[in-house]
Amino acid sequence: MLLVYCPYCGVSRPETEFSCRGEAHIARPADPAQTSDEDWVNFLYMRSNTKGVYVERWRHIHGCGRFFNAVRNTVSDDFLKFYKAGEPMPDLEELAKEAGK
């Protein structure tokens, strides 16, 4: 069971308190009407599904209820960073390099 840190509550808690909501930083297009079919389908369905460092949305569903983001290595399951929704995506290469040290 993973240990997940909620950046809003400031605590680490077992995975069962949270729900994972898939890849992060996939914004709903600002003007759907002006979005092409292809772009809309990419928004709906296409995910990078990375083997390695991956950015995910998590929700502290049985805690504060907030959504936040986490960088996880999908091979080792190690979390490299947790940050609040709305904060920019960190430099993944940099994070991976740090974690590799």
């Binding site: 069971m1 240990l3 729900s19 003007d31 009407a33 979005t35 809309w40 209820g65 959504f67 929704a85």
Partner: protein, 1000 residues
């Protein structure tokens, strides 16, 4: 004579306390401190089971949890637990054990004919046999294989034991309490770390309890263990868990331990659980799981009386049991020589030491010589004789040519073997570490740590008492330092004796026997021979993972801890590839077999899943209502009057609602309070419908899509004030709708000033439906003019019900005049009882979900999740009226414009009427254009809802059919196994098509 194989003295058993136990009904004696295995051996019993495939007689091989043969059933409290390892079952007064996999008895087993027919059971026989011919499957294979398969018999009754579960956090978890584990625990604990030390055995000490010829700090190893455990036990920061197996190593240093709490006791406290699951989050882990000895793969190496050398030593030194009176020791490594010497010390005749190595260490040979023990170096065992117990061993001399020359027979009643040692890397492997090949020791050892763990001692291929102790201390200090930032250098104990020794062999041994006739077992429990592994390679298996599955080697309960390395070597030879190129199979959890009870814990019976009840529950029980489960909810299905079956009850309920009035509990519907200055804007974006112009006091049906454009939920939404909406959802959709709203609100539109709150549990809801609904509620409602003009269909208002604040909706899911009254949940019972009494005055009825379904189907109202399946759009459902045409955006709007969603040939929601009004279609049945379509013809759609309609006095159905909206009046077919049913396509509204009945 009782216990003829018990030593005169020594061992850790309590000779003053004698227990009587039975094995297959035969009464025997043992002592406190015995395992079932040691007690059986003390009584001279080696034959304890029959093998899985060939039903060969099998004896105890090991003294630990890796035991492949000695699987027994234990009777307790009137039921039997199968497949327990006799080597782990602690003896108690009155223990009842039975052998397994034999019929009619262990001594005479008819299944043993399989051994003679073994040419029909080659590697991969499961795959080969079942290929041909098809009819053989039900008639021959299945009954025969089912009867023969498996080892023990499953218990017959529900598990009467209870199981505990607890979470624990620690700085350092030490798994295993041999020399390395104990010293690691001591060093970590002295450093101030919070330590959990667990060991699968009943006593701490591991190999130290077997070590008779060494000393630590001048003490006997077992005394040092006692002193160390006393020291650890006196520390507040240490938790000691004997009989506790670390069986699973998960991500983020999360380790699962299985503690056996009561099974070793004759009459345990009934309040205690049988087992306890410890879910431990450890900052650092020390894996001190040790190493286990490898069997030697020679012909007939499975005869009862053949054990691992270290097991023989353990039975002697720890349990005071001699494995035989005349013992052959066959080995390729130094450590087994000590077994011979220890047995010799207890007066056991050592028939010979058969040493595979041409030149064993001189020092050992000298000791053997001094003791007068015959030593045959450069020799192997090439076979054994004896029916149910070894009688003699065949000797083979290894020639320089690579051939084996017969070296005669050696009589014996037991044989101890050692092919060397294999580090137990299971936990490391479970932690996702990759093992690496260590050519020096000829073993796979832990590689780089992936998690916060380190392996110590035998678990990493490090042997020798002093070295192991030091390794443990260092690891304990290191783990403490990593976990709590400090460590204390403890005084290392000084050991003498317990040398590491050298040597070892892998794979099948050479012999001079007819290779096609003899069986040399690699995996005892699954009956896999060296020949099977070679055959698998000949038949094209290249990867060890394929060989494993084809032969089932390593797939037994020890997960190949005994067999893997030998199988690997044999495969490597057959493939003519180095062993490192063949690969190693993965060790998976659980480390040893683990009960389902442990995983289930208290989550069984009433605690399996929460039950959600509405405030009418007790009244429904008292009045004979029948419940159905809807998710976790108990909902009333129907209310039968005496003598009524379901059909009759539902027909009466439907008729009564349409003619007078019905009362329905709608409390389970999801409710969400949406509040804030941007509440209308938020709903405008979430739902297809327009909300901004909805006046306070009015309701609207809301349709919710996902961004792909498919219907996901629906419900009536009432506007109570400019900034306050009462949203209802389907019963099942409540949590997901709430989560979806939170998602959009938090992550896509954080600019909106809106609060949403789940209020499902806050309200009890009574639906009063039917022409007399107004008369029924009028006496109790204050603050609202209920007339059709003042409070028309789709109105909502706050009022009081019997003086209790309520939200009154005028809405209908039946097509009749209807109201839904929401009161605070604590008043729900009062409301229900009040209304139930009142409807009687109007010849009304309570009704359940089945009637609700029929009434709504007569009106063509969809049920999301029944009439829709996640691929239905509002257009498909004929609900374009619910879409706000002028809206620039809402969730799903863009999705709806996708080419596939506006193309031809989509399945559309329609009604179906069978030509024969009595025939009721089956929900889920497929619909075709041909009356008797050829096999493989794709269906045009399927039936989603089907009922008998009392109002129409005939059956009705709802369906999704390709281009259904254009097929009105056309005939289609629903082919069933016995006939094809013809149906006419209609609109989905069957009753009161104008909707006049709602507006009265």
């Amino acid at each position: 004579m009782s216990q003829p194989f018990r030593t005169e003295k020594g061992g850790r058993i309590d000779r003053s306390e004698q227990f009587t136990f039975t094995f297959d009904g035969e009464e025997m004696q043992g002592h406190k401190g015995d395992t079932l295995a040691s007690a059986l051996l003390a009584n001279g019993i080696h034959l304890v089971g029959r093998s899985f495939k060939y039903h060969r007689p099998r004896g105890i091989v090991t003294a630990g949890s890796e035991e492949p043969n000695a699987l027994v059933g234990i009777y307790r409290n009137g039921d039997q637990t199968p497949n327990l390892r006799a080597t782990q079952v602690e003896l108690y007064q009155g223990l009842e054990a039975i052998s397994q996999n034999r019929f009619p008895s262990l001594g005479f087993d008819v299944g043993a004919v399989n051994d003679r027919l073994s040419m029909f059971f080659p590697a991969g026989f499961y795959y080969k046999t079942f290929m041909w011919p098809k009819s053989f499957w039900d008639k021959v294979y299945e009954p025969v294989i089912r009867a023969a398969a498996g080892l023990g018999k499953p218990p017959k009754n529900p598990d009467h034991d209870s199981y505990g579960n607890l979470y624990a956090h620690c700085d350092v978890l030490v798994a295993g309490s041999g020399p390395a584990g104990l010293s690691a625990a001591l060093a970590a604990a002295e450093s101030g770390a919070k330590v959990i030390l667990c060991d699968e055995q009943s006593e701490f000490g591991g190999s130290l309890l077997t070590e008779a010829n060494a000393s630590i700090d001048g003490m006997a190893p077992s005394d040092w263990v006692a002193e160390t455990i006393a020291r650890l036990g006196a520390m507040d920061n240490v938790t000691l868990l004997p009989r506790t197996t670390a069986f699973g190593y998960f991500a983020h240093n999360y380790i699962a331990l299985a503690e056996r709490v009561t099974e070793h006791l004759a009459s345990p406290d009934p309040k205690l659980p049988r087992e306890r699951l410890w879910q431990v989050r450890a900052k650092e882990v020390v894996i001190a799981s040790g190493a286990i000895e490898r069997p030697m793969v020679f012909p007939e190496n499975d005869r009862p009386g053949i054990l691992l050398a270290e097991a023989g030593r353990t039975y002697l030194n720890r349990y005071g049991v001699k494995v035989g009176h005349k013992v052959v020791v066959a080995t390729a490594c130094d450590t087994a020589w000590q077994a011979a010497f220890d047995l010799d010390d207890h007066g056991v005749e050592i028939a010979a030491i058969i040493e595979m190595r041409e030149v064993p260490p001189e020092s050992l040979v000298a000791i053997a010589k001094a003791r007068g023990i015959r030593v045959e170096a450069g020799c192997v065992i090439t076979g054994t004789l004896g029916r149910k117990r070894i009688k003699s061993a065949l000797l083979g001399r290894l020639m320089t040519s690579g051939q084996v020359a017969s070296g005669g027979q050696v009589e014996c009643d037991a044989l101890l073997m050692s092919g060397g040692w294999t580090p137990t890397v299971s936990l490391y492997s479970q932690s996702r570490g990759k093992v690496v090949w260590d050519a020096d020791s000829g073993a796979y050892v832990p590689g780089k740590s992936v998690q916060k763990e380190r392996s110590v001692g035998g678990a990493k291929g490090l042997y020798g008492l002093q070295a192991t102790l030091e390794d443990g201390y260092a690891a304990g200090e290191e783990a403490a330092k990593a976990a709590i930032g400090t460590s204390k250098k403890v005084t290392y104990a000084a050991a003498s004796g317990g040398e590491a020794g050298e040597g070892g062999t892998l794979g099948a041994l050479p012999h001079d026997r007819n290779a096609s006739k003899v069986k040399a077992f690699v995996d005892y429990q699954n009956d896999v021979t060296a020949k099977d592994v070679k055959l698998a390679v000949r038949e094209g298996m290249q990867s060890i993972e394929h060989i494993k599955r084809y032969t089932t080697t390593g797939m037994a309960t020890d997960q190949g801890r005994l067999s893997n390395m030998n199988a690997l070597q044999i495969a490597s030879g057959a493939l003519e590839r180095p062993v490192t190129d063949v690969g190693l199979t993965t060790f998976r959890l659980p480390y040893t077999p683990t009960t389902f009870g442990l995983f289930a814990g208290v989550a069984r019976g009433d605690f399996f899943d929460p039950v959600r009840k509405t405030p009418s529950h007790d009244w429904v029980v008292d009045n004979g209502g029948v419940f159905e489960d809807v998710g976790q909810w108990k909902r009333t299905w129907y209310f039968p009057k005496s003598g009524e079956d379901m059909h009759a009850a539902v027909a009466r309920e439907c008729k009564t609602v349409r003619e007078s009035v019905g009362l329905f509990d709608a409390s389970t519907l999801g409710k969400i309070e949406v509040v804030g200055p941007d509440a209308a804007e938020f709903l405008e974006r979430m739902y297809t419908n327009p909300w901004k112009k909805l006046a306070p006091g009015r309701c609207r049906y809301g349709l919710l899509l996902n961004d792909a454009g498919f219907i996901t939920d629906d419900g009536v939404i009432g506007r109570l004030a400019d900034d306050r909406f009462h949203v209802t959802t389907t019963t099942g959709g409540a949590p997901s709708v709430f989560a979806t709203m939170e998602d959009y609100l938090q992550t896509e539109w954080p600019d909106l000033d809106v609060w949403i709150t789940s209020t499902t549990e806050q309200y009890a809801v009574a639906a009063v439906q039917g022409p007399k609904a107004r008369e029924v509620i009028a006496p109790f409602i204050e603050g609202i003019d209920l007339s059709n003009e003042a409070f028309p269909h789709m109105s909502v208002k706050e009022a009081t019900f019997c003086g209790v604040p309520c939200r009154l909706f005028r809405i209908s899911f039946t097509g009749e005049l209807g109201f839904e009254i929401n009161v605070p949940r604590r008043h729900g019972k009062m409301m229900w009882e009040t209304l139930a009494k009142e409807i009687e005055k109007h010849d009304g009825t309570s009704y359940g979900t089945e009637t609700m379904h029929v009434l709504r189907a007569e009106k063509g109202y969809i049920i999301v999740g029944q009439d829709t399946d996640g691929t239905v759009t509002p257009q498909d459902a004929g609900m374009t009226w619910a879409i706000g045409k002028k809206k620039h955006d809402f969730v799903g709007k863009r999705g709806l414009e996708r080419p596939d969603l506006v193309s031809e040939n989509r399945k559309q929601f329609v009604g179906l009427l069978t030509k024969d009004p009595k025939v009721k279609l089956e929900e889920g049945a497929q619909i075709t254009t041909a009356e008797n379509p050829a096999t493989g013809t794709p269906a045009e759609g399927h039936v989603t809802s089907s009922y008998f309609s009392p109002a129409l006095d005939r059956t009705i159905a709802l369906a999704v059919v390709k281009n259904g909206h254009a097929l009105d009046g056309k005939t289609l077919y629903v082919p069933m196994p016995d006939r094809s049913i013809s149906v006419e396509v209609t609109g989905p509204v069957f009753y009161d098509k104008e909707g006049a009945r709602i507006n009265v």
